[in-house]
Symmetry: C2
Subunit: 229 residues, 2 copies
Protein backbone atom coordinates (compact mmCIF):
# COMPACT_ATOMS: atom_id res chain seq x y z
CA UNK A 1 0.00 0.00 0.00
CA UNK A 2 1.29 3.44 -0.88
CA UNK A 3 -0.01 6.80 0.18
CA UNK A 4 -2.21 8.89 -2.04
CA UNK A 5 -0.69 12.22 -2.99
CA UNK A 6 -3.98 13.87 -2.05
CA UNK A 7 -3.99 12.48 1.49
CA UNK A 8 -3.19 14.63 4.48
CA UNK A 9 -2.62 13.80 8.16
CA UNK A 10 -5.63 11.94 9.55
CA UNK A 11 -7.60 12.24 6.34
CA UNK A 12 -7.88 10.27 3.20
CA UNK A 13 -9.26 10.72 -0.28
CA UNK A 14 -11.59 8.11 -1.71
CA UNK A 15 -12.84 7.75 -5.25
CA UNK A 16 -16.05 5.91 -6.06
CA UNK A 17 -18.58 5.54 -8.85
CA UNK A 18 -22.37 5.57 -8.44
CA UNK A 19 -24.92 4.52 -11.04
CA UNK A 20 -28.47 5.81 -11.43
CA UNK A 21 -30.11 2.89 -13.25
CA UNK A 22 -33.49 3.92 -14.62
CA UNK A 23 -36.40 2.00 -16.12
CA UNK A 24 -40.06 2.61 -16.84
CA UNK A 25 -42.84 0.56 -15.30
CA UNK A 26 -46.55 1.14 -14.67
CA UNK A 27 -46.25 4.56 -16.26
CA UNK A 28 -43.51 5.70 -13.90
CA UNK A 29 -39.80 6.34 -14.20
CA UNK A 30 -38.09 4.15 -11.58
CA UNK A 31 -34.60 3.90 -10.11
CA UNK A 32 -32.87 0.75 -8.88
CA UNK A 33 -31.88 0.79 -5.21
CA UNK A 34 -29.84 -1.92 -3.50
CA UNK A 35 -29.83 -2.80 0.17
CA UNK A 36 -26.36 -1.91 1.47
CA UNK A 37 -24.58 -4.88 3.01
CA UNK A 38 -21.73 -2.94 4.61
CA UNK A 39 -21.09 0.20 6.63
CA UNK A 40 -21.54 3.07 6.26
CA UNK A 41 -25.34 2.98 6.11
CA UNK A 42 -25.56 -0.84 6.27
CA UNK A 43 -29.16 -1.92 5.67
CA UNK A 44 -30.12 1.33 3.92
CA UNK A 45 -31.36 1.41 0.31
CA UNK A 46 -28.87 3.20 -1.93
CA UNK A 47 -27.61 3.48 -5.50
CA UNK A 48 -25.36 0.70 -6.84
CA UNK A 49 -21.81 1.97 -6.48
CA UNK A 50 -18.37 1.20 -5.20
CA UNK A 51 -14.70 2.06 -5.07
CA UNK A 52 -12.72 2.49 -8.23
CA UNK A 53 -10.33 -0.50 -8.42
CA UNK A 54 -7.12 0.98 -9.78
CA UNK A 55 -5.55 -2.42 -10.48
CA UNK A 56 -8.52 -3.45 -12.61
CA UNK A 57 -10.60 -0.55 -13.96
CA UNK A 58 -9.47 1.24 -17.11
CA UNK A 59 -11.40 4.36 -16.10
CA UNK A 60 -14.45 5.41 -14.11
CA UNK A 61 -16.84 4.33 -16.88
CA UNK A 62 -15.24 0.91 -16.80
CA UNK A 63 -15.76 0.86 -13.01
CA UNK A 64 -19.43 1.80 -13.48
CA UNK A 65 -19.96 -1.05 -15.97
CA UNK A 66 -18.25 -3.44 -13.52
CA UNK A 67 -20.55 -2.29 -10.69
CA UNK A 68 -23.63 -2.87 -12.88
CA UNK A 69 -22.35 -6.31 -13.87
CA UNK A 70 -21.46 -7.40 -10.34
CA UNK A 71 -24.30 -5.78 -8.39
CA UNK A 72 -27.18 -5.76 -10.85
CA UNK A 73 -26.24 -8.56 -13.26
CA UNK A 74 -26.34 -6.18 -16.23
CA UNK A 75 -24.03 -6.39 -19.24
CA UNK A 76 -23.23 -3.08 -21.04
CA UNK A 77 -26.53 -1.19 -20.92
CA UNK A 78 -26.72 2.34 -22.35
CA UNK A 79 -24.56 4.35 -19.93
CA UNK A 80 -23.58 8.01 -19.81
CA UNK A 81 -21.51 10.09 -17.42
CA UNK A 82 -23.70 12.39 -15.34
CA UNK A 83 -21.42 14.52 -13.14
CA UNK A 84 -18.98 14.28 -10.25
CA UNK A 85 -20.07 14.86 -6.68
CA UNK A 86 -17.36 15.66 -4.16
CA UNK A 87 -16.42 17.13 -0.82
CA UNK A 88 -15.40 16.40 2.76
CA UNK A 89 -18.92 15.66 4.08
CA UNK A 90 -20.73 13.46 1.55
CA UNK A 91 -19.14 10.19 2.72
CA UNK A 92 -18.23 9.48 6.37
CA UNK A 93 -15.14 7.53 5.25
CA UNK A 94 -13.26 10.59 4.03
CA UNK A 95 -12.99 13.38 1.47
CA UNK A 96 -14.63 11.75 -1.48
CA UNK A 97 -15.24 12.19 -5.15
CA UNK A 98 -17.90 10.07 -6.80
CA UNK A 99 -18.17 10.04 -10.57
CA UNK A 100 -21.85 9.40 -11.20
CA UNK A 101 -23.37 7.75 -14.29
CA UNK A 102 -26.87 7.07 -15.46
CA UNK A 103 -28.00 3.99 -17.35
CA UNK A 104 -31.30 3.08 -18.98
CA UNK A 105 -32.80 -0.40 -19.33
CA UNK A 106 -36.19 -1.94 -20.16
CA UNK A 107 -37.92 -2.81 -16.88
CA UNK A 108 -36.93 -6.35 -15.75
CA UNK A 109 -39.57 -9.01 -15.14
CA UNK A 110 -38.88 -9.05 -11.42
CA UNK A 111 -36.55 -7.51 -8.86
CA UNK A 112 -33.89 -9.76 -7.31
CA UNK A 113 -33.61 -10.10 -3.51
CA UNK A 114 -32.02 -6.98 -2.05
CA UNK A 115 -33.20 -4.88 -5.02
CA UNK A 116 -36.14 -2.58 -5.52
CA UNK A 117 -37.26 -0.25 -8.28
CA UNK A 118 -38.81 2.87 -6.75
CA UNK A 119 -40.61 5.71 -8.59
CA UNK A 120 -38.16 8.62 -8.85
CA UNK A 121 -40.85 11.06 -7.74
CA UNK A 122 -41.54 9.23 -4.48
CA UNK A 123 -38.17 8.30 -3.01
CA UNK A 124 -37.45 8.07 0.71
CA UNK A 125 -34.41 9.94 2.04
CA UNK A 126 -31.32 8.24 0.61
CA UNK A 127 -27.86 7.92 2.23
CA UNK A 128 -24.83 9.95 1.12
CA UNK A 129 -25.99 12.56 -1.43
CA UNK A 130 -27.75 9.89 -3.49
CA UNK A 131 -31.02 11.84 -3.44
CA UNK A 132 -29.32 14.73 -5.14
CA UNK A 133 -27.56 12.42 -7.63
CA UNK A 134 -30.90 10.83 -8.61
CA UNK A 135 -32.56 14.26 -8.99
CA UNK A 136 -29.72 15.43 -11.26
CA UNK A 137 -29.99 12.27 -13.38
CA UNK A 138 -33.76 12.52 -13.76
CA UNK A 139 -33.52 16.16 -14.82
CA UNK A 140 -30.81 15.29 -17.35
CA UNK A 141 -32.74 12.34 -18.80
CA UNK A 142 -35.99 14.31 -19.12
CA UNK A 143 -34.21 17.24 -20.72
CA UNK A 144 -32.24 15.08 -23.18
CA UNK A 145 -35.35 13.10 -24.08
CA UNK A 146 -36.75 16.17 -25.79
CA UNK A 147 -34.22 16.08 -28.59
CA UNK A 148 -32.55 12.67 -28.62
CA UNK A 149 -32.86 8.91 -28.96
CA UNK A 150 -32.32 8.42 -25.21
CA UNK A 151 -35.79 7.00 -24.31
CA UNK A 152 -35.53 4.05 -26.75
CA UNK A 153 -33.31 2.33 -24.18
CA UNK A 154 -36.27 2.11 -21.78
CA UNK A 155 -38.42 0.24 -24.30
CA UNK A 156 -38.36 -3.60 -24.35
CA UNK A 157 -37.60 -4.79 -27.89
CA UNK A 158 -39.20 -5.33 -30.26
CA UNK A 159 -41.66 -2.44 -29.91
CA UNK A 160 -44.25 -0.64 -31.99
CA UNK A 161 -44.06 3.09 -32.73
CA UNK A 162 -47.11 3.55 -30.47
CA UNK A 163 -45.27 1.94 -27.56
CA UNK A 164 -42.22 4.16 -28.09
CA UNK A 165 -44.48 7.20 -28.38
CA UNK A 166 -46.01 6.34 -24.99
CA UNK A 167 -42.52 6.06 -23.44
CA UNK A 168 -41.58 9.54 -24.72
CA UNK A 169 -44.86 10.99 -23.45
CA UNK A 170 -44.38 9.49 -20.00
CA UNK A 171 -40.83 10.85 -19.76
CA UNK A 172 -41.72 14.33 -21.00
CA UNK A 173 -44.93 14.40 -18.97
CA UNK A 174 -46.92 15.90 -21.84
CA UNK A 175 -48.71 14.78 -25.01
CA UNK A 176 -46.56 14.62 -28.15
CA UNK A 177 -48.13 15.17 -31.56
CA UNK A 178 -48.09 11.81 -33.38
CA UNK A 179 -47.23 13.19 -36.82
CA UNK A 180 -44.38 15.32 -35.48
CA UNK A 181 -43.14 12.34 -33.44
CA UNK A 182 -42.95 10.07 -36.49
CA UNK A 183 -41.11 12.77 -38.44
CA UNK A 184 -38.53 13.15 -35.65
CA UNK A 185 -38.09 9.38 -35.50
CA UNK A 186 -37.35 9.39 -39.23
CA UNK A 187 -34.83 12.18 -38.64
CA UNK A 188 -33.18 10.22 -35.82
CA UNK A 189 -32.89 7.14 -38.07
CA UNK A 190 -32.12 4.85 -35.15
CA UNK A 191 -34.74 2.14 -35.72
CA UNK A 192 -34.93 -0.85 -38.02
CA UNK A 193 -38.04 -2.96 -38.66
CA UNK A 194 -38.01 -6.53 -37.38
CA UNK A 195 -38.80 -8.29 -40.65
CA UNK A 196 -42.05 -10.20 -40.68
CA UNK A 197 -43.00 -9.30 -37.10
CA UNK A 198 -46.16 -7.40 -36.34
CA UNK A 199 -48.25 -6.92 -33.24
CA UNK A 200 -52.01 -6.40 -32.97
CA UNK A 201 -52.90 -3.48 -30.70
CA UNK A 202 -56.53 -3.18 -29.72
CA UNK A 203 -58.89 -2.93 -32.68
CA UNK A 204 -56.20 -1.60 -35.04
CA UNK A 205 -54.55 -3.49 -37.85
CA UNK A 206 -51.30 -5.26 -36.84
CA UNK A 207 -48.47 -2.77 -36.27
CA UNK A 208 -44.87 -3.17 -37.44
CA UNK A 209 -42.31 -4.04 -34.75
CA UNK A 210 -38.96 -2.26 -34.49
CA UNK A 211 -35.64 -2.50 -32.70
CA UNK A 212 -32.69 -0.11 -32.23
CA UNK A 213 -30.00 -0.34 -34.90
CA UNK A 214 -26.84 -1.92 -33.48
CA UNK A 215 -24.70 1.23 -33.88
CA UNK A 216 -27.06 3.26 -31.67
CA UNK A 217 -27.17 0.91 -28.69
CA UNK A 218 -24.30 2.78 -27.01
CA UNK A 219 -24.41 6.06 -28.90
CA UNK A 220 -26.87 8.89 -28.53
CA UNK A 221 -28.42 10.49 -31.57
CA UNK A 222 -29.70 14.09 -31.44
CA UNK A 223 -32.28 16.00 -33.45
CA UNK A 224 -31.87 19.73 -34.22
CA UNK A 225 -35.16 20.76 -32.64
CA UNK A 226 -37.14 19.39 -29.74
CA UNK A 227 -39.47 16.46 -30.44
CA UNK A 228 -42.51 18.49 -29.59
CA UNK A 229 -41.66 21.61 -31.60
CA UNK B 1 -0.10 10.68 5.78
CA UNK B 2 -2.62 7.88 5.58
CA UNK B 3 -3.23 5.44 2.79
CA UNK B 4 -6.01 5.92 0.32
CA UNK B 5 -8.59 3.15 0.31
CA UNK B 6 -8.29 3.01 -3.46
CA UNK B 7 -4.53 2.44 -3.41
CA UNK B 8 -2.99 -0.92 -4.20
CA UNK B 9 0.57 -2.24 -3.91
CA UNK B 10 2.91 -0.03 -5.93
CA UNK B 11 0.13 2.14 -7.27
CA UNK B 12 -1.67 5.19 -6.11
CA UNK B 13 -4.80 7.09 -6.94
CA UNK B 14 -4.60 10.81 -7.55
CA UNK B 15 -7.41 13.32 -7.88
CA UNK B 16 -6.95 16.59 -9.72
CA UNK B 17 -9.00 19.36 -11.30
CA UNK B 18 -8.32 20.96 -14.69
CA UNK B 19 -9.87 24.16 -16.00
CA UNK B 20 -10.52 25.06 -19.64
CA UNK B 21 -10.56 28.87 -19.43
CA UNK B 22 -11.96 30.35 -22.63
CA UNK B 23 -12.09 33.86 -24.04
CA UNK B 24 -12.70 35.49 -27.40
CA UNK B 25 -10.12 37.66 -29.14
CA UNK B 26 -9.52 38.70 -32.74
CA UNK B 27 -12.59 36.73 -33.79
CA UNK B 28 -11.29 33.47 -32.30
CA UNK B 29 -12.20 31.37 -29.32
CA UNK B 30 -9.02 30.98 -27.25
CA UNK B 31 -7.93 28.83 -24.32
CA UNK B 32 -5.49 29.79 -21.57
CA UNK B 33 -2.38 27.60 -21.34
CA UNK B 34 0.23 27.87 -18.59
CA UNK B 35 3.87 26.82 -18.80
CA UNK B 36 4.27 23.91 -16.38
CA UNK B 37 6.87 24.57 -13.70
CA UNK B 38 7.10 21.01 -12.37
CA UNK B 39 7.30 17.44 -13.59
CA UNK B 40 5.64 15.68 -15.24
CA UNK B 41 5.89 17.63 -18.50
CA UNK B 42 7.87 20.52 -16.96
CA UNK B 43 8.18 23.33 -19.53
CA UNK B 44 5.18 22.16 -21.56
CA UNK B 45 2.09 24.35 -22.07
CA UNK B 46 -0.94 22.85 -20.35
CA UNK B 47 -4.30 23.67 -18.79
CA UNK B 48 -4.34 25.29 -15.34
CA UNK B 49 -4.93 22.49 -12.87
CA UNK B 50 -3.73 20.83 -9.71
CA UNK B 51 -4.35 18.37 -6.95
CA UNK B 52 -7.49 18.55 -4.88
CA UNK B 53 -6.44 19.74 -1.39
CA UNK B 54 -8.60 17.71 0.94
CA UNK B 55 -7.73 19.83 4.00
CA UNK B 56 -8.82 23.00 2.23
CA UNK B 57 -11.22 22.43 -0.68
CA UNK B 58 -14.94 21.99 -0.01
CA UNK B 59 -15.39 20.13 -3.30
CA UNK B 60 -13.88 19.89 -6.77
CA UNK B 61 -15.57 23.12 -7.90
CA UNK B 62 -14.00 24.87 -4.95
CA UNK B 63 -10.62 23.42 -6.00
CA UNK B 64 -11.16 24.68 -9.56
CA UNK B 65 -11.93 28.21 -8.31
CA UNK B 66 -8.78 28.06 -6.14
CA UNK B 67 -6.68 27.01 -9.13
CA UNK B 68 -8.04 29.91 -11.19
CA UNK B 69 -7.37 32.33 -8.34
CA UNK B 70 -3.84 31.10 -7.64
CA UNK B 71 -2.67 30.35 -11.18
CA UNK B 72 -4.57 32.85 -13.30
CA UNK B 73 -5.42 35.60 -10.80
CA UNK B 74 -9.16 35.22 -11.48
CA UNK B 75 -11.88 35.66 -8.86
CA UNK B 76 -15.11 33.63 -9.39
CA UNK B 77 -15.62 33.74 -13.16
CA UNK B 78 -18.55 31.84 -14.71
CA UNK B 79 -17.58 28.20 -14.14
CA UNK B 80 -19.32 24.93 -14.98
CA UNK B 81 -18.41 21.28 -14.53
CA UNK B 82 -17.50 19.66 -17.84
CA UNK B 83 -16.80 15.96 -17.18
CA UNK B 84 -14.37 13.66 -15.42
CA UNK B 85 -11.44 12.09 -17.22
CA UNK B 86 -9.85 9.04 -15.64
CA UNK B 87 -7.72 5.97 -16.04
CA UNK B 88 -4.33 4.39 -15.41
CA UNK B 89 -2.53 6.03 -18.35
CA UNK B 90 -3.52 9.70 -18.52
CA UNK B 91 -1.07 10.85 -15.82
CA UNK B 92 2.38 9.26 -15.31
CA UNK B 93 2.08 9.76 -11.53
CA UNK B 94 -0.63 7.12 -11.10
CA UNK B 95 -4.22 6.08 -11.72
CA UNK B 96 -5.88 9.45 -11.90
CA UNK B 97 -9.25 11.08 -12.04
CA UNK B 98 -9.43 14.69 -13.11
CA UNK B 99 -12.68 16.57 -12.71
CA UNK B 100 -12.61 19.11 -15.54
CA UNK B 101 -14.38 22.48 -15.59
CA UNK B 102 -14.79 25.20 -18.15
CA UNK B 103 -14.86 28.92 -17.41
CA UNK B 104 -15.57 31.93 -19.60
CA UNK B 105 -14.07 35.41 -19.26
CA UNK B 106 -13.75 38.56 -21.38
CA UNK B 107 -10.32 38.54 -23.03
CA UNK B 108 -7.73 40.18 -20.74
CA UNK B 109 -5.69 43.17 -21.93
CA UNK B 110 -2.48 41.16 -21.92
CA UNK B 111 -1.18 37.72 -21.02
CA UNK B 112 1.01 37.42 -17.91
CA UNK B 113 4.48 35.79 -18.14
CA UNK B 114 4.11 32.02 -18.42
CA UNK B 115 0.61 32.37 -19.93
CA UNK B 116 -0.66 32.30 -23.46
CA UNK B 117 -4.10 32.35 -25.05
CA UNK B 118 -4.12 30.07 -28.08
CA UNK B 119 -6.93 29.64 -30.65
CA UNK B 120 -8.77 26.41 -29.80
CA UNK B 121 -8.74 25.38 -33.46
CA UNK B 122 -4.96 25.57 -33.76
CA UNK B 123 -3.52 23.98 -30.63
CA UNK B 124 -0.23 22.11 -30.50
CA UNK B 125 -0.22 18.64 -28.94
CA UNK B 126 -0.92 19.09 -25.21
CA UNK B 127 0.34 16.93 -22.31
CA UNK B 128 -1.87 14.45 -20.41
CA UNK B 129 -5.23 14.24 -22.20
CA UNK B 130 -5.60 18.02 -22.18
CA UNK B 131 -6.21 18.11 -25.94
CA UNK B 132 -9.24 15.91 -25.50
CA UNK B 133 -10.46 17.93 -22.49
CA UNK B 134 -10.25 21.18 -24.52
CA UNK B 135 -12.08 19.58 -27.47
CA UNK B 136 -14.88 18.38 -25.16
CA UNK B 137 -15.19 21.85 -23.60
CA UNK B 138 -15.31 23.65 -26.96
CA UNK B 139 -18.00 21.29 -28.24
CA UNK B 140 -20.04 21.80 -25.04
CA UNK B 141 -19.71 25.61 -25.14
CA UNK B 142 -20.66 25.85 -28.84
CA UNK B 143 -23.61 23.53 -28.36
CA UNK B 144 -24.90 25.33 -25.23
CA UNK B 145 -24.47 28.72 -26.90
CA UNK B 146 -27.31 27.89 -29.25
CA UNK B 147 -29.93 28.02 -26.54
CA UNK B 148 -28.48 29.80 -23.52
CA UNK B 149 -26.94 32.90 -22.00
CA UNK B 150 -23.48 31.30 -21.92
CA UNK B 151 -21.71 33.61 -24.45
CA UNK B 152 -22.44 36.78 -22.46
CA UNK B 153 -19.57 35.85 -20.16
CA UNK B 154 -17.11 36.32 -23.05
CA UNK B 155 -18.21 39.91 -23.66
CA UNK B 156 -16.41 42.77 -21.83
CA UNK B 157 -19.00 44.93 -20.02
CA UNK B 158 -20.66 47.21 -20.81
CA UNK B 159 -21.53 46.05 -24.33
CA UNK B 160 -23.99 46.89 -27.08
CA UNK B 161 -26.44 44.37 -28.51
CA UNK B 162 -24.42 44.43 -31.75
CA UNK B 163 -21.28 43.42 -29.88
CA UNK B 164 -23.07 40.55 -28.15
CA UNK B 165 -24.60 39.49 -31.47
CA UNK B 166 -21.09 39.30 -32.97
CA UNK B 167 -19.91 37.13 -30.04
CA UNK B 168 -22.78 34.67 -30.61
CA UNK B 169 -22.08 34.57 -34.34
CA UNK B 170 -18.38 33.88 -33.80
CA UNK B 171 -19.15 31.04 -31.36
CA UNK B 172 -21.81 29.44 -33.54
CA UNK B 173 -19.80 30.01 -36.71
CA UNK B 174 -22.84 31.16 -38.66
CA UNK B 175 -24.92 34.30 -39.20
CA UNK B 176 -27.78 34.83 -36.73
CA UNK B 177 -30.87 36.73 -37.80
CA UNK B 178 -30.86 40.06 -35.91
CA UNK B 179 -34.59 40.20 -35.23
CA UNK B 180 -34.71 36.63 -33.94
CA UNK B 181 -31.59 37.32 -31.82
CA UNK B 182 -33.18 40.34 -30.12
CA UNK B 183 -36.34 38.32 -29.42
CA UNK B 184 -34.32 35.51 -27.80
CA UNK B 185 -32.42 38.07 -25.72
CA UNK B 186 -35.74 39.43 -24.46
CA UNK B 187 -36.79 35.87 -23.65
CA UNK B 188 -33.53 35.24 -21.75
CA UNK B 189 -34.04 38.46 -19.72
CA UNK B 190 -30.47 38.45 -18.47
CA UNK B 191 -29.42 41.99 -19.42
CA UNK B 192 -29.98 45.39 -17.85
CA UNK B 193 -29.24 48.75 -19.50
CA UNK B 194 -26.41 50.80 -18.04
CA UNK B 195 -28.33 54.01 -17.40
CA UNK B 196 -27.13 57.03 -19.34
CA UNK B 197 -24.37 55.17 -21.18
CA UNK B 198 -24.33 54.90 -24.94
CA UNK B 199 -21.68 54.11 -27.49
CA UNK B 200 -21.36 55.39 -31.06
CA UNK B 201 -20.69 52.58 -33.55
CA UNK B 202 -19.65 53.64 -37.06
CA UNK B 203 -22.15 55.94 -38.74
CA UNK B 204 -25.09 54.75 -36.60
CA UNK B 205 -26.80 56.66 -33.84
CA UNK B 206 -25.37 55.97 -30.34
CA UNK B 207 -26.30 52.50 -29.08
CA UNK B 208 -27.46 51.61 -25.57
CA UNK B 209 -24.93 49.79 -23.38
CA UNK B 210 -25.86 46.73 -21.30
CA UNK B 211 -24.47 44.50 -18.59
CA UNK B 212 -25.48 41.09 -17.19
CA UNK B 213 -27.93 41.20 -14.29
CA UNK B 214 -26.21 40.22 -11.04
CA UNK B 215 -28.26 37.03 -10.55
CA UNK B 216 -27.10 35.63 -13.91
CA UNK B 217 -23.36 36.05 -13.41
CA UNK B 218 -23.05 32.52 -12.03
CA UNK B 219 -26.27 30.98 -13.31
CA UNK B 220 -27.08 29.86 -16.82
CA UNK B 221 -30.38 30.80 -18.42
CA UNK B 222 -31.87 28.66 -21.20
CA UNK B 223 -34.32 29.38 -24.01
CA UNK B 224 -36.79 26.76 -25.24
CA UNK B 225 -35.62 26.83 -28.85
CA UNK B 226 -32.25 27.47 -30.42
CA UNK B 227 -31.27 31.11 -31.02
CA UNK B 228 -31.22 30.64 -34.73
CA UNK B 229 -34.52 28.79 -35.10
Amino acid sequence: MTTSTNSEAGNKLICTVDVVLLSLSEGQLRVLLLKREREPFAGAWALPGGYVHIGEDQGCEDAAQRVLRQKAGLESPYLEQLASFSGPARDPRGWSVSVAYFALVPHPEEALPGQQWLPVDRLPQLPFDHGSIVATAVERVRSKSQYSSLPVHLCPEPFTISQLHAVYETLLGEPINTVSFRRKLDELAILEPVVGEKRTEGAHRPAQLYRVRAEFRQRLRLVGRGLNR
